[in-house]
Symmetry: C2
Subunit: 683 residues, 2 copies
Amino acid sequence: MEFDGLFNPSGIAIIGASRDPSKVGSAVLKNIRITYKGDIYPINPFVDQIQGIRAFKSISLVKEPIDLAIIAIPAEKVLDELKKCEKKHIKFAIIISAGFKESGHTGAHLEEDIRNFLNKAKIRVIGPNCLGVINVNLPYNSTFMDPNSKPIEGRTAFISQSGALLSAVVDDATMSKIGFSKIISVGNAVDITEADLLRHLATDEMTDAIAMYIEEVNDGKDFLDALTEASKKKPVIILKGGRFSETSSAVSSHTGSIAGSNRAYELAFRRGGAITVYNIDDLYNFIRDAPSLSINGDEVVILTNAGGAGVVATDSLASVGLKLAKLPEKLSSDLRKSFPKGINSNNPVDILGDATPERYREALSMLLRVNKPIIAIFAPQEMAMPIETAKGIIEAHNSHPEIPLLPVFMGGASVEKGEKLLLENKLPCYRYPNEAVDVVKGLVFHKRFIEPKYTQSNRVKIKVSKLKSQENLFGLHAKEIFDKLGIRTVKGVKFKDQKELRAASGVIGFPCVMKIGSDSISHKGEVGGILTGIKDLQQLEREFEDMSKKMRTESIKVPYYELYEDANKYSKDSYEIILGGHRDEKFGPIVGLGIGGEYVKIINEMRFALSPVSDYDIEKIKESKAGKIVKALCKETVLNEIVTYLIKIAKLMDENPWIKDIDINPLLVSENGAIAVDFKIYS
Amino acid sequence: MEFDGLFNPSGIAIIGASRDPSKVGSAVLKNIRITYKGDIYPINPFVDQIQGIRAFKSISLVKEPIDLAIIAIPAEKVLDELKKCEKKHIKFAIIISAGFKESGHTGAHLEEDIRNFLNKAKIRVIGPNCLGVINVNLPYNSTFMDPNSKPIEGRTAFISQSGALLSAVVDDATMSKIGFSKIISVGNAVDITEADLLRHLATDEMTDAIAMYIEEVNDGKDFLDALTEASKKKPVIILKGGRFSETSSAVSSHTGSIAGSNRAYELAFRRGGAITVYNIDDLYNFIRDAPSLSINGDEVVILTNAGGAGVVATDSLASVGLKLAKLPEKLSSDLRKSFPKGINSNNPVDILGDATPERYREALSMLLRVNKPIIAIFAPQEMAMPIETAKGIIEAHNSHPEIPLLPVFMGGASVEKGEKLLLENKLPCYRYPNEAVDVVKGLVFHKRFIEPKYTQSNRVKIKVSKLKSQENLFGLHAKEIFDKLGIRTVKGVKFKDQKELRAASGVIGFPCVMKIGSDSISHKGEVGGILTGIKDLQQLEREFEDMSKKMRTESIKVPYYELYEDANKYSKDSYEIILGGHRDEKFGPIVGLGIGGEYVKIINEMRFALSPVSDYDIEKIKESKAGKIVKALCKETVLNEIVTYLIKIAKLMDENPWIKDIDINPLLVSENGAIAVDFKIYS
């Protein structure tokens, strides 16, 4: 295995091991010492023994082979030590030392030097500026976390870009008896990235789910590839920090500024099948339960002994888009026969406040027939019997362990022991219904992800050619490209003088629109370079005279003019849509559809998809407001046509990395189809 | 005090006290016995002594005066006992027994009988079908909750419509050492309502905040009055169950169907100054901290020892619309002078992973100069010193106890003791930044509520007359009312025959629109009763001939016809807006503004306000999408005009309870103003 020396090292050296308990090198050694069963080599030029272990003056002096070095020394000394490690054929180093990129100019240089060295070296590195790595399975703990905080073994791996957040989450999880397989603080990721780790953990047999805290990724495409690969094997849960870091730019009809880079992250996480959470708290239940729950479909059965709790649970389901499963009439009637009058035999099934553990067991055994996830709520009432109720639930679960069963034991001391029993028996247990619902929602999304529709659409099979890299293309130059793609645009031709004008007007007809031809002026109207509603040849000739005179007077270089049919002839009973593409610097092309016209600037609402567009994206785009408007006011075939345009734009941008943005605004849609009236390609 | 006998009773009788430990009457007696210091009178016809206390065969046999009776006997026997209580001048009864309205027809009758009796009786009643009341301050506990679950004293009162939810929340809170002043399960609220309790608790000196779980209120206006009154004195936090109970009706341009009854609850809670929460978990921090925190303004200072935690906290702030306070340059420079290189001296202030307790204390004492709420995050790093850090924070707090300080101690075992110390010192403490942020957000909203703009607007001083109750009013009949209100509508006149037609067309001019006059046909177009774009008198006369013939043939009764100016003349450069009113059965008139035209059916998005419209509502409506569109595409004066229309519609509906719905669709808006083209008043 590629990362074997990192996670299962033979021999660990601690470069910077220290006797001073206030030093990081002391805490690291202590953690290694109390967790790691193999040979430990503290490295310190000044002492012979640290914490009762023989120390070496230099890593070069160690004779035995070593797989892993932990480096905790001042930043400027790290590279030298790394070189010594390389020489000694050490396979991995974890650089805990801070003082690199994160601390400014000098540090960035030091980091760059390390990167250059690593490009040619064999040694692989985690960090710098990280908390370290814990392999709970082995175990070893190379961090400088409080040694009293001892992570317990579980089946979720945790990767974090924030050391402090990592230690807080691990500390808290440990107190709640939530365990981990591997815990990795990636720091500045000068060498081994989140993507590398995702790939490794995807195949790690001790890991059934992966939780991540991410603020930024360096190579978006590589991350997305690794995420997609990992998500196909196990759930990946991501908390993204810095979601609101962008100052939201002023209103704009420009696709790029509506999209924003956080949108790209969101799209990428969805595309890669990640379960996105928004708070640290939300991570917990997934860390605990994602490895053991496998959920299909979006319908849920709720069992409760309290009406109010059923109400709250139903609210939660609806708020995340899940559904109450409809129970078969036979089942409802069986429930009514088996239980006292007053129960609710429909979903949510209410077996009343005096429900005995036996009633829970029996109701569950009947509801398991539905073969859908069951949220079983127990609220302490009257003579609450939490332990016996938990036993009844465990028994029912054991009869059908393949059906997800999510107990919710509401309350504190009255239910605590039942909760404990459930957890001991590898069942989840939630305090409140919404927690169970959030877990179901995330896992439903993940499960669906293996369906092919989440990856790519085969709907449009077109070959888009690679164009030579060029400057902005406006007007007819852009039209040429859209014509080739099969995106319908208004008729238009070039002309240069009065003579050509006459021929051009013969092609276009009246009314028509005259524009200056220019790939450098994006808003031609602002310089007086657009005239609409020209009625006849006489007017056209006169206006051309005026416009070309104005351009000359104002020294605006106009290599040619353009004549278009007037879109007004399409505008009756038609609606304005905006269609666009934007190249995110991390994740590549994003295409979007929005409500156009004057509204776009105000509503500022587009639905986006990452390229290549998937069938799932198409579904979502069709369900967007703009999609619904097109479907309702035109025809579904028109909507399909527009979606095809989006896919084509995505492919065009994929093939041509020089294209940074594409705006079609407006695209006029009516019953008769869609036609692009104004279009720009930005390089 | 009105409810003195309920909360501080002299003598409590338990009617239905039982020796059988499986009976509710046994648990209630037990809870009373272990909590209440006054005289206890178990009532049971068959025994002389229960749980070591002398029992009476009947309440009538007790000589001593009694303030409160707890009734836990079968539903059908309750009324008789209630009558005996009344006769004995018992002031209050808590009917725990179930089997009333909630259990079907027979129960509803029993409840009705009790209601009728109470109308004339002096005794006041909590319940039936409730868990009971706990006055933690006195104390007494009249519930049948597990006697081991002993609520501790705090300064928040809790009112719940679900007994199970109440017991779960109290149980859980108790385990987390979160206390209560009063705990009340209201059940079916046959007599004493949530509103009555709100009014009482608003003046209760032992209560500084009120938390509620509500599924439905019977008298919306009374509830809103009580809520408003209470919110002016202390924070009221509401969790509403059944938010998603309505099957969302099909798309519609009808205000009423867009509004929905849950929207009315939301509007009412906001109007009443309540802090709305959406999950049970969210209730906790408010129950604990709402009594002690008083927060002004929407700017927050964040102090952290971990960059990642600062990032996450900033995300949370932004996600709820709060802001990072900008620190004065002098303060930032002082921070840089006082602390090591590498700190972030802007908000969020990062004092680095090695921050000592002393550094926390010092940084806080400097940040307190900003006089804004401070969220102080401590993440366990290296040599975490949670207790000392907590002490530093407490010290800083004590120097300025008036400035809200919200510590967040991230992690588990490593920070637990610090957390405990903070809580003991009456400071809050949160596990993660988002929890602190949610509390700040809620309290900011509550604090603002005392500003007059939250209650009513004095912007429009109009007198709206009370019209006589009538049927639907469409067309000119509705126009008449809007004309009186000063809502501009298209010109229109009545006519009956060819002779009157000629005069009418002289008033209206061409092009014009002809409609059948009818208050029973709401969609006149569907029966061929509308014709637009009539160009001249000749065409008009011909079309009238045709239309009246068609109506006669199809036996559609048309008492008169209507002639309007054709709105097309306004429609160039104008936009369609929808304006409407809907009478919610609980909370009265709701008015709303939305994007009109074909879009309304799809976007289905209106911004609503409860009548009477407040200045705060006006702000919100102006910031809605429709508001922004009007402001951007027309002028702000036009938007103000429209808002005035909304206020007028609200007043009209206030004065005229027979009006159920008002739809103005479309209202054409342009730079020149707004004009209503189609308008309907439904009774």
